[in-house]
Structure formats: C-alpha cells, structure tokens
Amino acid sequence: MNLKPQTLEKIEKLIPRYPTKRSASLPICHLVQEDQGYISQEAMEWIAAKLGLEPINIYEIVTFYPMLREKPIGRRHIKVCRTLSCALNGSYEVKKLLEKALIGEGHGSSNADYTIEFVECIASCGTAPVVQVDEVLHEGIKPDRVCKFADQIRQETEQMKTSVSKL
C-alpha cells in the first residue's frame, strides 16, 4: 500500500476516536478511496489488517455502499440526480446531453477524463435538477444550461491536467 503520508496520519488519528476499531472501517474506506481513487483488493486487505478484521469485513461494506468502488474511474466524477423531483425537471435529458458533450454520442458514459453516472436523490430537490461534480453540488442544471455547464467542466479538467503535467 502506497498511501500518502497525510492519509496515513488521518487514519491514525481516526481509529482511537471510536469505541471499537471496526467503527473506523467506513471512514477509512473513504480516506483510502480519496487517496487512491478506488479501493483495491490489496487496500481491503490492508484496512482489515489495520483494524484486526478479516478482509471479508471490508469487502462486504465496499460492495454494499454505492459510493465505494473497486475500480478506478475517470478524472472527474459527474453524478446526475435521477430521482423524481430532478427527473420532473429534466435530469434524464441532462445526463444524455452531458454524455454527448463530454464523451461523445455513442461512446458510453465513461472515459479517462469523465465518469458520468446517475445517483439517487441527493437532497437538493428544491433546486432540481442537480449535478454533483466530484465534491461540488451544482444546482438548477436544466437541459438548456448543460452546454455552458459542460464547457465549464471541460475547462476545469484541462486546467487540472496541465497543472498535473507541470509537477
């Protein structure tokens, strides 16, 4: 396991806060996923050993929670709310338009730069439709705003790529 020193430090601080070590398993999964982009089998074994658990104890939660993943995804994670209030305001159309703008028609919903998914209700129904890009919630993304919105995401992504290549 090649976790960043900051991640390791956070993990060490986290464990003693809980009455039992096992309670730290979900928060550690979050930290490892933020660090690595996903939770590999090696990572699950590492977390289990860290907490004195069997690997299955970590595997069973990684496979249960929708936010945890076993495979890497695109650089940007775009989640379009699918549930009723957003759907009534056009979220199915929004997802289609985002895929078309960022990935290209007929090329699915994921590539190296973008992973576009539906997500169930993210509790912002009053400003529907909503789209969460990585950690940031964007409100009121109606179909007629998607074009501009996609441009903005594309610009951000290009900037991210340039700043990474400079390092």
Binding site: R22, S23, Y92, E93, E120, A123
Partner: protein, 452 residues
C-alpha cells in the same frame, strides 16, 4: 398574497451577513441555552422536551420526549446520542439547509440533548454525498471545542462529551435508525429486528442509544429558551412547533418553508406560498411527505373523524399541514417533503421512477422487499417502454400488498406504498397506458419516456 412564514429554526439562516461560523451564532445568543442546560438537572431538561410535545422530524413523527423516556438508564452501559443527518428521502432537503446555514444550532441542540440523556459520546451520521456539510460540521465542532462548548468538562460543568461526524456512503437504508447503528459499527447497514433491538435499550454497541433527526435536535435549544409549555402553544394540539416543509416538483417557487404545524393547508402551500403550477398546467397529484408517502390525487375527497372526534370532509387542497392532517387523508406527513406533479406527467412513469429508487435501495435482507421492489420496478419500467399490459395494474397492486408488514424495517412499507397508492388511485391511467399502446402496436409508434 403570500402567507408569512414563522421562522424559528431558520430564523438566522438566510439573513444577510449571517455565516455558519461560531461568531455569527454567538452574536444572536447562541449557546446561551447550553449554558443554561448545564446548570439544570438532566431530568428537568427531559421534562421540558416531553412537555413541548415535539415530534420527530425524520419521518415517523414519534414524540421525542417519549423516545428519550424509553432510555435504559440502569444498564450500567454507556449511553450514545446519534443525530440522523442521512437525509435521503426523495423530496427532502431541509436538513441540508440547517447543516449548511446554521450548523452551531445543531451542535448546541446535540450537546443539550447529550447532557440531558447523559450521553458518553455523540455522533452525527451525515450522508456521504454531503462533502461540504461534513466539512462545515467538522469545523463547527472544532470552533465549539475551542470555546469549551463540547469535549472535556463542558463549561466547567464536569460533564464531558465528544461529537464525531461519521460519513455514510450513499445508502438510503442508513436513514433507518438500526441500519444507521450497524453502519456506525462498521458493518453492512442491515436494519435490526425490533424487538429486541429498540435503540433506547439495545442500540449502538448493544448500549442504550437515542437517534434523532437534525431538525428535531435543532428544536431543543428553542424548547429550552421558551420552556416546554410555551413551545407547545405553537402549532396545534399534538402537532407542536414549526416544521420545515421541502416543496419540489412542478411548482413556480420550490423551496424550504417554515410554518407552525397546521398553520396552513396543502392548497395554500402549493398555490399561495409556492406560486402554483406552471402556466396552463393543472394539478394532477401530490406526494405529501416524501416519496414513500401515499400519493394524493387532485379531485379526491377525504372524509372521516379526527383524533378529537370531529368530522372532516376535505379536498386535497384543504388538508392541514401538520402531522395528523396528511395521516387523516390516508397518507403521512413523513419528512415534510411535498412533491407536486402536474397534468403533463405520465403517472406510470412517475411511479416507475420511484420504483427504480426503492429497488436500488432495498438492503436485500428480507425477501418480500428485495424481490418485490425489483419486480415492481421491472413491471413499471416495462410499461414505460411500450410493453404495458392491462392486467399489470392488478399484478402491481397484488405485489405491493404482499410486502408491507412482512419485513424487518419500514423500507418494506416505503417501497410498497407508492405502488399501492398509485395503482389504486390512478387505475384508469395504468389501463389506458396499455390500451393506447395496443392501439398503436402495429404502427410501431415511438414511445416517449422521460422519467425512467
């Protein structure tokens, strides 16, 4: 003319210049009630909350004071307090406002509640997707800790309690309190069977535990400030305090609105406060208390007797917005989430959308819910993709009636009630969907769908 709100919980939230930092909260008298609380006995605080009659704002509407009263104080085990901030009932977005805009109100409410139930440790279980919310709460906790408002020896009282923000990871079932407890324990969030696992007796780590919703806990400082008896004067008997209603769907002004319980009707909320429907649109249906609550059809009449014995005869617009009003109309006020559907919507598609949600969120523990929710999703999705059959409506009805009451937790009811009520009240539209498709079967007419 718009009916004025009465903001108690959201009083400061949207004020110009008010931020979610501790200085803003202290500037409006924040944490004074915690100061008062640590000078009181825990019993006296619990009594005030009981007198206030405040009912749980998460969905079930159970009196919070009574819930606290079930705590086993004699077990010798530590007591835990958990704030349920796993806001995920479709249509609900009130806790998000309380967390983002006034997090210290929640922290104060929690520390008073923790002191009142002698909690050893407290948790806020927040939705995984609310990255900002979790960061705001973490910061609020550190600000409060620096001022000795939580942590060791709070305000010199000798009472200590820490507060941990625990993030979920996208599972609706974690909103069920025993599923949430399993999740904090680091397991799959499978709800526990009750009895024996009533949290107040056998909760987190098999210890006495109280799980309250964000909005419920935010009420606690106000109850202490006004006194339980004075608080109970807001709203109507048995429906005390204000509620934050989340209104979404097809209204002109969706949003969150705080009113005294019973202070207005569903019709006033939709047509007055929220500005009615879009131009030329007519009301078709309302889901009054989060997507699990039974749908109400425009034009329906509701009659019967209220709790106090008086007779009522309401149209949809006349239903009072409190806990008991929607319940008397055969539905529930649930989490206070009102979803408005207009006449442009295909009702089968609306149900298919909700069924996809429940099929995705069933934890899989109980067969009727796991299989039933998926089966109902498959049928309604098929109906929207040009393969509707006239007998589907009866099949859906029959499946839905075989789930509720046969599962460990209320997700069984939650997934069954939409199908049960949609197929009962919109039977004609389900049948029409099949007939219209059959009519066009030979022309291979293009099927339009936008909600599934």
């Amino acid at each position: 003319m718009s009916i004025p709100e009465r903001r108690i919980l959201l009083k400061n939230a949207d004020q110009p210049g008010y931020s979610n930092h501790i200085d803003s909260y202290l500037g409006v008298g924040g944490y004074e009630m915690l100061r008062k609380a640590v000078g009181m006995t825990p019993e006296a605080i619990r009594e005030e909350v009981k007198t206030s009659g405040v009912r749980g704002r998460g969905g079930a509407g159970f009196p919070a004071g009574m819930k606290w009263g079930f705590l086993d104080f004699k077990s010798g085990k530590p007591i835990y307090l958990i704030c349920n901030a796993d806001e995920s009932e479709p249509g609900t977005f009130k806790d998000r406002q309380l967390i983002h805009k006034d997090p210290h109100q929640l922290v104060e409410g929690m520390m008073i509640a923790a002191f009142a139930i002698r909690a050893k440790l407290a948790f806020i279980y927040i939705r995984g997707e609310m990255f900002d919310g979790a960061k705001i709460l973490e910061r609020a906790i550190e600000e409060a800790r620096a001022k000795n408002l939580l942590g060791e020896n709070i305000l010199g009282s000798g009472y200590s309690c820490d507060l941990i923000v625990h993030r979920g990871a996208g599972a609706y079932i974690c909103g069920e309190e025993t599923g949430l407890i399993e999740s904090i324990e680091g397991k799959r969030p499978y709800p526990r069977i009750k009895p024996p696992y009533f949290p107040a007796v056998l909760g987190l780590y098999q210890s006495p535990t109280i799980v309250n919703n964000v909005e419920t806990l935010c009420n606690v400082p106000h109850i202490l400030r006004m006194g339980g008896a004075e608080y109970a004067k807001i709203g109507t008997p048995g429906n005390t305090g204000t509620r934050i209603w989340s209104v979404s769907g097809q209204v002109q002004r969706p949003g969150y609105y705080e009113f005294p319980c019973g202070g207005l009707t569903l019709g006033q909320m939709i047509f007055d406060v929220c500005g009615g429907l879009g131009p030329g649109r007519k009301l078709k249906a309302v889901i009054p208390g989060g997507s699990s609550s039974k749908v109400l059809r425009a034009g329906e009449r509701f009659s019967g007797k209220l709790k106090d014995g008086s007779a009522f005869d309401w149209g949809l617009e006349d239903i009072p917005l409190d806990f008991d009003g929607p319940a008397s109309a055969g539905s529930m006020s649930g989490s206070g989430a009102i979803i408005v559907i207009d006449d442009t919507v295909d009702i089968v598609e609306a149900l298919a959308n909700l069924n996809a949600f429940y099929a995705h969120e069933s934890c899989g523990q109980c067969t009727p819910c796991r299989e039933g929710s998926l089966w109902m999703k498959k049928i309604t999705t098929r109906m929207c993709h040009g393969e509707a059959r006239e007998q589907d409506v009866d099949l859906l009805q029959s499946i839905s009636l075989q789930i509720s009451g046969r599962t460990i937790c209320a997700h069984g009811e939650a997934c069954a009630w939409p199908t049960e009520s949609f197929t009962k009240k919109f039977r004609d539209e389900f049948i029409a969907k099949a007939r219209n498709q059959n009519k066009h079967a030979d022309t291979n007419a293009k099927v339009s769908y936008s909600l599934i």
